[in-house]
């Protein structure tokens, strides 16, 4: 079966939702078809029930949000459904900083992005409006904004107020983390009810792409073909254009062919480069599946002199952006710094420190004694840079039902990053220590991430077609009508949550996509 459309978007996550929404505004009447391998989970009415099952039993709060035979080594989330990983994201919408775009010119590291900060900042504002972000202006002048946040900030809970006062004794300025959560009714969704389970928001206050898809479907602005796996892109005879996307209905195996004026890959850091490799497309540079990126992280707990009440709003946090900047000429280290309420080290326990069994009143008494002092969870995402050997490859030893090899991601950091690893770790632990010492505290439970978070890359953008896959708008250098949007295009992954940047970059691409139709 052949389906004709104007724009065929492969992948149904947050980038696809934002692109489709903006495209439908820029080009009313344009035919947009979104093809998503996973299924739609649009039963909002069941979300409170799913939340409760998740709380009580640890059951998947998004039933059916994965595909059993569609996985790969190094992929950090199994979610494949309409809405993608942003179905269950925490809604944190930090911006990168100007330094992320100018690493090469400022520090001689990695690569510069092929766009200016002013350009990106404009699209950050747009992303914040479309997602519905609540936040407060930051205390640092470098974080100036051209527009206010669309919504008033999430109020700091009592715990976070106490922690802010505590943390700022160290001389480090903090603010509430901006979030795609409504502090008042916004875009047809309700205000946050502080349910403490943002990964499954039962009220709709936290943005997830299913809302946008439902709006677009209701207005008949898109076609959504879920449960449909795109397996190959077909090139024109001269190789300069993509003429079709070959797909299969996962349920039943019907073969489909999408024919479109423009194709857009919005399948994230794993599945966008995976499809290009399967299709032998957009890869004259050999850069598809290279420079797989992300940021590393170190976390810890800090015991402090404060009476806290764990459970008030564990999802909200403080952030300091002080360490987003690194003065040229000083040892390079850039990281964010987050603080949450915590109950670590003061949960009820069965045995005391001496191994004595506790029962009944003894458990409660022991628990109460250990909660006299409070705890904070701290974490730093720090900037690391991948080498060209940081790859996504096709693993011919692992294939899906249809015989297609699955992806395997293997992160490799560049020499400069490896050389400064010890100093970076010492710096971050020093910051944790400074926070602790400011209030008679004690650092414990230090842990380091075993993976790179907020992964990106694989189809990196750039101006040189020999070292990049696409230009700054995501248009592939090899095929005039093939775009890649979202996380896969990022040359580096910053040192804070990436989703807002993925969305901002996608929105920046939208007019170029529209022009191509």
């Amino acid at each position: 079966m052949t389906i004709d459309t104007d724009v065929c978007i492969v992948g149904g996550g947050i980038s696809a939702a934002m692109l489709a929404q903006k495209l439908s505004e820029l080009k009313p009447g344009v035919a947009i078809t979104i093809v998503e391998a996973g299924t739609r989970i649009f039963d909002f009415e069941n979300r409170a029930k799913y939340r409760q099952r998740s709380l009580d039993y640890g059951e998947n709060a998004w039933p059916g949000d994965f595909i059993g035979d569609q996985a790969g080594a190094g992929i950090i989330s199994r979610t494949m459904a309409v809405g993608g990983s942003a179905l269950h994201w925490g809604g944190v919408t930090n911006r990168f900083s100007e330094e992320d775009l100018t690493l090469k010119s400022r520090y001689g590291l990695a690569v510069d992005w092929p766009l200016t900060w002013a350009d990106l900042e404009k699209h950050y504002c747009e992303a914040e409006r479309r997602l519905g972000v609540s936040g407060e202006p930051g205390p640092l002048p470098e974080d100036r904004r051209s527009e206010p946040y669309p919504m008033e900030p999430m109020p700091l809970s009592y715990n976070l107020k106490v922690l802010k006062e505590w943390a700022e004794k160290s001389g480090i300025p903090f603010q509430g983390t901006p979030q795609a959560k409504n502090t008042r009714p916004y875009d047809g969704r309700s205000a946050c009810m502080r349910c403490n389970t943002c990964e499954i928001c039962p009220t709709g206050a936290r943005y997830s792409p299913d809302f946008t898809f439902k709006q677009l479907l209701a207005a008949r602005k898109i076609e959504l073909h879920d449960g449909t796996l795109v397996r190959r892109l077909v090139k024109s005879e001269d190789g300069r254009r993509i003429v079709a996307a070959q797909a299969i209905k996962r349920n039943g195996g019907e073969a489909l062919e999408y024919r479109a004026k423009t194709f857009v890959l919005a399948s994230g850091y794993a599945w966008s480069p995976h499809l290009l490799l399967l299709s032998n497309a957009a890869n004259s540079s050999g850069m598809v599946g290279r420079y797989m990126a992300g940021h590393a992280f170190i976390g810890a707990q800090i015991e402090l002199d404060a009476r806290l009440y764990p459970g008030m709003n564990e999802q909200h946090s403080l952030i300091s952006r002080k360490f987003f900047r690194c003065a040229p000429g000083t040892p390079y280290v850039r990281h964010d710094l987050r603080v949450w309420e915590s109950s670590a080290g003061r949960d009820p326990r069965l045995k005391d420190t001496n191994g004595k069994l506790l029962l009944g009143d003894a458990v409660l008494a022991d628990w109460r004694a250990r909660t006299a002092r409070g705890a904070a969870r701290v974490r730093a995402y720090y900037d690391v840079h991948s080498s060209a050997e940081s790859t996504l490859t096709l693993d011919s030893s692992k294939k899906n039902t249809w015989g297609d090899p699955l992806p395997a991601i293997h992160h490799v950091l560049d020499d400069a990053t490896n050389a400064r690893k010890t100093a970076t770790r010492a710096h971050i632990l020093g910051v944790f220590d400074a926070l602790a010492k400011a209030n008679n505290g004690r650092v414990f439970g230090v842990s380091e991430g075993s993976y790179l978070d907020h992964p990106a890359g694989g189809c990196r953008m750039g101006t040189d077609p020999t070292t990049s896959v696409c230009d700054s708008y995501g248009r592939t250098h090899d095929h005039a009508n093939l775009f890649v949007v979202g996380s896969a295009t990022l040359p580096t992954a910053g040192c804070t949550n990436g989703t807002l940047t993925f969305v901002a970059m996608t929105l920046r691409s939208a007019p170029e996509v529209a022009k191509s139709v």
Partner: protein, 198 residues
């Protein structure tokens, strides 16, 4: 809080069927109706030892019972983020309870009591300490594991939002949807609807 017989009866009657066709958690030497009652009394007797006196034990047992009754074997669990993994829930923890309850009764009889529920508080404590040691349980889990019914009951209670409020003596309401208003203030003192057990 003390359990009424009526409340105690409710504790485990629903659980066995929902947990995979088990008919009773009590001694197999008793008649069916008696078995249910005996099992219920045993679990209530466990609760008196392992749950704090300030807890609403009736409510705690009811929630434990509901949890067991509504457990779904083979359900997809949260596949997580980072080191992601798809895996189903395992067999119901309640499958292990009949043997554990029977063992408690056996131990009580060895000490001269007619059964665990009729043993003195001190005897019950000693029996449970030995049983927990035998089960090699080292820590409490908010979700029952089947390792031992006593620690499962404890973990389920102490991991609850209600227990959190009790510990901090504050109406935190961790698992409730509470709205944003007033969250900048310290939570109000916990409403004392259940007094200390006399």
């Amino acid at each position: 809080m003390s359990l009424s017989r009526r409340e105690a009866l409710k504790v485990l009657v629903v659980a066995p069927g929902a947990a995979g066709g088990l008919k009773s958690l009590g001694s197999s030497s008793l008649q069916a109706g008696d078995r249910d009652q005996a099992g219920d009394r045993t679990v209530a007797a466990i609760a008196e030892v392992v749950l704090p006196a300030e807890a609403d034990r009736v409510a705690a047992l009811r929630r434990f019972n509901d949890w067991i009754a509504n457990y779904h074997e083979g359900a997809d669990t949260d596949h997580g983020y980072g080191n992601t993994r798809v895996r189903p829930t395992g067999p119901s923890p309640a499958r292990n309870y009949p043997a554990q309850i029977a063992a408690l009764d056996t131990a009580a009889k060895a000490q001269g009591a007619p059964g665990f529920a009729a043993a003195s508080l001190e005897q019950r404590r000693a029996i449970l300490e030995a049983a927990i040691a035998d089960a090699n349980v080292e820590r409490l889990s908010a979700r029952p594991t089947g390792a031992h019914i006593a620690t499962d009951l404890m973990g389920h209670y102490f991991g609850s939002s209600e227990a959190n409020d009790l510990c901090y003596n504050a109406a935190i309401g961790r698992d409730a949807c509470r709205g944003l208003a007033g969250s900048e203030n310290a939570p109000a003192p916990r409403a004392t609807t259940v007094g200390p057990r006399k």
